[in-house]
């Protein structure tokens, strides 16, 4: 139902937008004759409800239509770009988690220490820094000054091709990872501080459980819930792409595809992209709910 709602809403809102898709695509000198051909070829002269039913029918058949401006099947365009973003954003999310969880716990345990203060300052700097600026700084250092890394992300289309060029992945993944770490680690620190103050932590410590087990068996698990929420909400972001990183690192993905379509009234791409993001939102929240119950057995979803 949510996905259907997304389809209806986006379709209506896009078609309420002022301006002509034909003129946006064909250009300033588009003649009435060419505009008529464009509208006929793309079904834009049909009543709106009919266009919507055609769209739903196409989607059910796995056909997202053809991009007005790129003149390619939208399914092909998405299949080329989605894996690229999944690799870039998936890897950066995994690395960000791998860094931010121990960092957050460390800062919670050493709350107020010099290490905590330094890491907090670094996190604030990274969090407040625009990612395009951060990316450009890294490029200037590692690519222009010391010529250590390439300026571009991998240009291959396939996942294996992208992963086969780890040097080219380093900067874009590193940029997104560091920007994400700053946020995740703050969540983790805050949540771990709460957990450390709980009675059950005092109990396990009083029972003589080694500190390592206290932290990783009890604190980590109970502190993960806010992170799970954030991750669930991040799922649509992973498929929506990272338009800034895609531009700076020359890595055409879903973000750039959507951005360019949005400025040119390219309805098929916009509809398909929002649908994909809508599905990812539903799936992300579902996975988050499942993870809640796995991490904390007290949480159970029952039908009432």
């Amino acid at each position: 139902m949510v996905v259907l709602g997304v389809m209806v809403l986006t379709f209506v809102m896009l078609h309420l937008e002022p301006g002509s898709a034909a003129r946006a695509t064909l250009g300033l000198k588009a003649t009435p004759g060419r505009i008529a051909i464009f509208n006929q070829v793309n079904g834009l002269n049909e009543p709106l409800y009919q266009q919507f039913f055609t769209y739903v029918k196409q989607v059910l058949e796995g056909n997202f239509g053809t991009s007005y401006s790129l003149q390619q099947p939208v399914a092909t365009l998405i299949s080329q770009r989605l894996p690229r973003d999944a690799v870039l954003l998936g890897l950066s999310t995994v690395f960000a988690l791998a860094l931010s969880l121990p960092l957050g716990i460390y800062q919670a345990v050493r709350r107020g220490s010099a290490g905590d203060n330094v890491l907090t300052a670094v996190a604030f700097v990274l969090y407040s820094m625009p990612d395009f600026f951060f990316a450009l700084v890294l490029i200037d250092i590692f690519c222009v000054q010391v010529h250590l890394l390439p300026t571009q992300a991998p240009q291959a289309i396939s996942v294996s091709g992208i992963l086969s060029d780890p040097r080219a992945l380093l900067l874009p993944v590193g940029t997104l990872t560091l920007v994400s770490v700053s946020g995740y680690s703050r969540y983790m620190r805050s949540s771990a501080i709460d957990s450390l103050a709980q009675d059950y932590i005092r109990v396990v410590r009083a029972k003589g459980l080694p500190e390592r087990l206290v932290l990783f068996r009890h604190v980590l698990r109970n502190s993960m819930l806010p992170i799970i929420t954030v991750l669930g909400l991040s799922a649509p972001g992973i498929v929506a792409g990272a338009v800034i990183a895609e531009q700076v690192f020359n890595y055409p993905g879903m973000g750039l595809l959507f951005f360019q379509a949005a400025t040119s009234h390219d309805y098929p791409i916009l509809l398909a992209s929002t649908l994909v993001v809508g599905i990812a939102t539903v799936v992300g929240n579902l996975v988050a709910d499942i993870l809640y119950s796995l991490l904390d057995p007290r949480i159970r979803y029952v039908s009432v």
Binding site: P18, R23, K29, T31, Q72, T151, Q247, N250, P252, T263
Partner: protein
């Protein structure tokens, strides 16, 4: 490489998209161009080194169609970049940076006009296709038959021009084509703006209706021509097979497509070893490397490793020194086109103001074009004195334009003009109409007492130099109390939202805009105004209408007098159907070890890498 500002018209723009690079005046020794028809043996920079790969930046310029005649719904201006080096047009536009035809690279040995310019005789050169078959007049009739049967589904179709303007075609022999036209055409116009848009196609390989079908003469019937065209268009849009489809391996240009990446639009060429022309490629490969934005392209240039040829965004002109220090040459590339602010003569609110010539004159008087060129574009721009660019198409610029145009910057003159027409001028504020009426000293028809001289200017967003130019105009117009409100939108949104407004149709929903800066309108080799200022022109979105202008434009296309062009040009420059602005150039960046790049041809639709070479 790309043009920074978006093209205001996509079809004619095809040749310019790649023209992102043409250059004159290399700042650090970019000379040594082999030139067309010369053999590359040595240069001032050292002996010519045969072979080598050149990687060229392709910024947001991804082609998606390889068959030279794209469907009406496909206006990707970068398709010509891909196809022109494979199938050059009958008339080759530009020779270096000169706005002339290039007989060396063109497909005709002569073009003769007769019967009061109603008959054109094309003598085709004895060239061969890459598969060894000769190029013949049958290849022309193949093109003509396809386009005649499918004109409305060709993106380059302009009603009244090719093929509508051809009454009949005859082919007396294998190398002669005679076109009988429907009326007399100005030879300059027909050669430079019509024949230079038409390639030849290999009838012996493409005249079929399916992949496995036999080649025949299907194009000789309308139904057959439609079937062949549909087949070729379907094949031409299959990006995955651009480099492998046997159809596209038969070429007559200097290059063959070696690879095409359907995922990112990157592609590469290798020499067509059977090319019949004189400028045979010296390089062994040219790679077009795609970039999403000029930011990522500039990063690649600054790192110095990947790119051999690229362009420097105007916003980053201060990087020129660093690039030169790291082994690149910088060169200016004048772009053939006219930059403008279009007034909406039928805006319900300010249409009466903009219909007054004296107000348009005051607006133009207050645009400090020389300062915009020097301060905002660092000298990399055409002065914009009128409808014809001085730098790119100098031979067509009239003495009036060359002398600075009819409206050099003069706030004093603008203020005097407004006062002479009944306005209370409030410098730094908003001038108001004091004496409404239609007399010589009154504000003019439709302008009411107390009406303020306030206008809004909408322009394409995303380019700092355009922001600065608009702000500069806003500031200078205020000197005569003309208040300009600025608004920016993405280019595609701009052209989608702001509709054409004419005397016959100016709906409030699409005609609420007042002044708009779309960027610029590109020209072909012959900078004709058809479509721009004539009352029925599809690009005349502001609704300017003048029978005299229509007649003068008509004379440039259908009259036989070359002088008629200057008459049109001076009239347009003076009457201000649009307000003239400086037209920014491209800034070419290329490796110092690479020669022949500059001056680059901005007219041909290709970068002409066949004349590029490394020196040992």
């Amino acid at each position: 490489m790309r043009i920074h500002r978006r093209l205001a018209a996509t079809t004619v723009a095809l040749t310019l998209a790649m023209a992102a690079t043409a250059c004159s005046g290399s700042s650090s020794g970019g000379g040594g161009a082999i030139g067309n028809g010369n053999s590359a043996t040595a240069s001032a920079h050292g002996p010519v080194k045969r072979g080598g790969t050149v990687t060229v930046a392709e910024v947001a310029a991804t082609p998606n169609f390889v068959f030279p005649f794209a469907p009406a719904t496909n206006t990707d201006g970068y398709n010509a970049n891909l196809s022109n080096p494979l199938w050059p047009n009958l008339v080759y536009s530009g020779d270096g940076a000169q706005s002339i035809t290039n007989p060396q690279e063109g497909l005709t040995s002569s073009i003769t006009y007769g019967n009061d310019d109603k008959q054109v005789t094309l003598d085709l050169k004895s060239w061969n296709w890459s598969d060894g078959q000769p190029i013949t007049s049958r290849d022309f009739t193949f093109v003509y038959n396809l386009i005649k049967a499918n004109a409305s589904n060709w993106s380059g179709y302009v009603s009244g021009l090719f093929p509508d303007d051809v009454a009949s075609v005859s082919t007396p022999d294998a190398h002669t084509v005679v076109l009988n036209l429907t009326k007399s055409y100005n030879p300059n116009f027909f050669t430079d703006d019509v024949l230079n848009e038409i390639p030849l196609l290999p009838q012996h390989a493409w005249d079929k209706t399916s992949v496995n079908g036999a080649v025949g003469n299907a194009d000789e019937t309308t139904a057959g021509a439609k079937a062949v065209y549909a087949f070729l268009q379907k094949q031409g849009g299959d990006m995955a097979t651009f480099a492998t489809n046997p159809l596209w391996k038969v070429v007559d240009g200097p290059w063959k497509l070696a690879s095409f990446n359907a995922g990112n639009g990157g592609y590469s060429y290798v020499p067509n070893t059977a090319y019949s022309g004189q400028d045979k490629p010296i390089l062994s490969k040219v790679v077009e490397s795609p970039f999403t934005t000029d930011t990522s392209e500039l990063n690649a240039l600054r790192s110095g490793g990947l790119l051999d040829v690229g362009s420097l965004p105007q916003n980053d002109v201060q990087q020129a020194g660093a690039l030169e220090a790291s082994g690149y040459n910088i060169a200016d590339v004048p772009i053939p086109g006219v930059a403008e602010i279009i007034p909406n003569f039928y805006n319900a609110q300010v249409g009466p103001l903009l219909r007054q010539l004296y107000i348009r004159q005051a607006l133009e008087d207050l645009i400090d074009r020389p300062q915009i060129v020097s301060k905002i574009y660092a000298g990399y721009a055409d002065p914009g004195n009128g409808p014809v660019p001085l730098k790119a198409t100098g031979p067509w610029a009239s003495p009036l334009e060359k002398s600075g145009g009819p409206y050099p910057y003069s706030p004093t003159k603008a203020t005097a003009l407004l006062k002479a027409h009944g306005w209370k001028v409030v410098a730094g504020g908003t001038s108001t109409c004091q004496t409404p009426g239609t007399g010589a000293a009154d504000c003019g028809a439709g302008i009411t007492a107390g009406e303020p001289l306030k206008l809004s200017l909408t322009y394409g967003s995303g380019t700092a130099t355009t922001d600065e130019q608009s702000a500069a105009i806003q500031s200078s117009e205020s000197q005569a109390g003309i208040t300009i409100a600025l608004k920016s939108e993405p280019f595609n949104t701009l052209i989608a939202d702001l509709g054409p407004c004419t005397a016959a149709s100016h709906p409030a929903s699409a005609c609420s805009w007042q002044l708009v800066d779309y960027g610029y309108n590109p020209y072909g080799l012959y900078p004709a105004a058809d479509g721009m200022f004539n009352s029925t022109g599809s690009g005349n979105v502001g609704g300017y209408a003048s029978p005299e202008m229509d007649q003068l434009i008509n004379d440039t296309e259908y009259g036989s007098q070359s002088s008629s062009f200057f008459a049109y040009e001076d009239y347009a420059a003076t009457q201000l159907p649009w307000l003239w602005l400086p037209n920014q150039d491209e800034i070419l960046v290329y490796r110092k070890t690479l020669q022949g790049v500059a001056p680059l041809n901005p007219f041909s639709g290709g970068l002409n890498p066949e004349v590029w070479y490394y020196t040992s």
